[in-house]
């Protein structure tokens, strides 16, 4: 499944968003335009749907409460609302529409209450859920929870709930992996920074482990000079999982290196590729170009495409990026780009306009040439004129 459309109201720095999405979505925009906030919508839905200790209250609380979450520019309408449409495949009719809106109670304890929750099966046009309903009106406490988070009530649309619960966010920070021993065992929930990456590899069956590592090895060999083989092993004494890579060396057995000796770029690439092969739900990637050589950044689009093709289930991927090299790839479809534009009235999320699309298809420009100049801050040329 994939998200084909997303509508937001008063979400963080977005007052109003309505965009269509494809199976790859490149999110571009200047610094502090809200790229991560845009991805956070999907992480939020995951946190709401999370069957182990998730839920609406916790998801909002983890983000510093509704006052932090709600757009500062929200005026008459105080509620935050998220609506997504899900389809089985790209370019097919959507199957589901899920809407969730919530607000502060406005009196008393100022609890956080659901002000709308709606599920429509778009195939049959059946409304499977519409809240607040009669029961909610009799017992306001019910509105502190969504039906999405409850197995008892989400039976008819569990597909959606599972899709959200399996959303993965990855912003692998190589240092956290390399210095795991010194940093101690503390992990952030859902492991956004890839600290538990090796354990994730360790958990799966050896057969799949090998097959995925072989696929990754093929790609890595091209990107990392001198690298030959990749293997996964547990430490015989402590049981700690480790990745090993063989580098060509004049002494045949001297070249095995452990992950803490890998370069930052190699580790990030590994993380990205592994995650692409891993699940079947949406994957959120934050700036995959970091610490990679520009020539390899140029290959990222092909790499994602290739991994999506090889994976058992094709994952939809949202990617935030600043990289010109990445978007220079001529095989990128301009419809895959969402451009964020900060304005005084909140950030706008724009699909590629018809004119921009024509400049790419008829004019022969690359996506980077057409769309990136628009994300450049207008006074950047003057940045260095500030006198110390």
């Amino acid at each position: 499944m994939l998200i084909t459309r997303i509508k937001l109201k008063n979400w963080r720095n977005f007052r109003n968003v309505d965009v269509s999405l494809r199976d790859r979505v490149y999110v571009i925009g200047p610094n502090a335009s809200g790229k991560s906030n845009f991805l956070d919508v999907m992480r939020f839905l995951r946190d709401v749907a999370n069957p182990t200790g998730g839920g609406l209250q916790k998801a909002v609380q983890d983000r510093g409460g509704i006052t932090k979450l709600r757009c500062l520019l929200a005026r008459n309408d105080p509620k935050v609302s998220i609506e997504v449409e899900l389809a089985e495949k790209v370019d097919t009719d959507p199957l589901w529409r899920y809407t969730l809106a919530f607000r502060s109670e406005g009196k008393g304890q100022q609890r956080l209450l659901v002000s709308q929750e709606k599920v429509i099966n778009l195939k049959t046009n059946a409304v499977l859920l519409e809240r607040p309903d009669k029961n909610d009106k009799q017992d306001i406490d019910r509105l502190t929870q969504t039906h999405l988070e409850q197995i008892n009530t989400n039976r008819e649309f569990r597909e959606i709930s599972e899709f959200f619960a399996n959303v993965t966010y990855l912003h692998l920070v190589p240092q956290l992996l390399k210095h795991a021993d010194q940093l101690g065992g503390y992990r952030i929930e859902n492991d956004p920074f890839g600290q538990g990456f090796l354990e994730r590899i360790a958990k799966i069956h050896e057969k799949y482990q090998k097959s995925r590592l072989t696929k990754i090895e093929e790609v890595l060999k091209v990107c990392v000079p001198n690298m030959k083989n990749l293997k996964f092993e547990r430490d015989k004494i402590s049981g700690t999982p480790h990745l090993w890579a063989m580098y060509e060396h004049w002494r045949p057995d001297a070249g095995w290196q452990r992950e803490d000796q890998f370069s930052d770029g190699t580790l990030r690439l590994l993380g990205i590729m592994w995650t692409l092969l891993e699940g079947d739900s949406l994957l959120l990637l934050e700036e995959p170009e970091l610490s990679l050589n520009e020539d390899i950044v140029r290959q990222i689009h092909k790499l994602i495409w290739n991994m999506q093709r090889q994976a058992k289930y094709r994952r939809q991927v949202f990617i935030t990026t600043h990289s010109e090299a990445l978007l220079q790839d001529e095989s990128i479809d301009a419809r895959e780009v969402i451009r964020l534009e900060p304005t005084k009235d909140g950030t706008l999320a724009q699909e590629t306009s018809a004119e921009d699309l024509a400049l790419v298809t008829d004019g022969g420009y690359t996506v980077a040439e057409v769309l990136l100049p628009k994300t450049k801050p207008s006074n950047v040329d003057q940045l260095s004129l500030f006198k110390p």
């Binding site: 024509a358 004019g363 022969g364 040439e369 057409v370 100049p373 260095s384």
Partner: protein, 182 residues
């Protein structure tokens, strides 16, 4: 370029600005600009650089018989010559004597170097340090060269004055004013 369009009095909206970063890439882009000008009118400005004369460059770039939506202009030798052509303006900006600024900047062999040499004579030592490359450096320009001259063009450059000393600038302006008549 946006200042030139504004100065020409034409009612064009600049939809976007592409910086080709170097003449070679601009030259490679000509086919693209031809095709894309059908979607959106293009104005392409390049430096003549070491090419002997504009017609030869047009020939080399195969830039003849362009579609009417594509305006192709050449700054004689370099766009820096157009900046120096505002003699009083550049003298004041660089804190130098106006007599040191050339009268016919378009005849300069290397306008960029000429401009840097002017900055070298600046009475403001700090400004000079920022624009002129360090002694022995392989760099052609100082660290804040672009920053300062972008600032000059945006806030100080007097186009009317510059036209008096830069014929290729005058021609470019007149071509902009007749480009795509309404």
């Amino acid at each position: 370029m946006s200042r030139l369009i504004l100065f020409s009095g034409r009612n064009f909206t600049i939809n976007r600005v592409f910086n080709a970063r170097g003449n070679a890439r601009l030259k490679d882009g000509m086919t693209k600009f031809r095709a894309a000008s059908r979607v959106l009118p293009h104005i392409v400005l390049t430096d003549l650089d070491r090419c002997p004369c504009p017609p030869e460059l047009i020939n080399n770039w195969k830039a003849n018989q362009l579609p009417p939506q594509l305006l192709f202009r050449i700054a004689v030798r370099e766009v820096e010559a157009w900046l120096m052509a505002d003699r009083a303006g550049i003298a004041e900006f660089l804190h130098i004597d106006i007599s040191k600024v050339p009268h016919a900047p378009e005849t300069e062999e290397d306008p960029k170097r000429a401009l840097i040499n002017l900055a070298r004579k600046s009475r403001k030592k700090r400004l000079s340090q920022e624009i002129v490359p360090e002694v022995g450096s392989s760099a052609k320009i100082g660290v804040l060269y672009n920053t300062h001259f972008v600032n000059f063009v945006n806030s100080f450059w007097d186009i009317e004055q510059a036209c008096l000393c830069a014929p290729s600038l005058t021609r470019t302006l007149s071509r902009i004013s007749t480009f795509l008549p309404e």
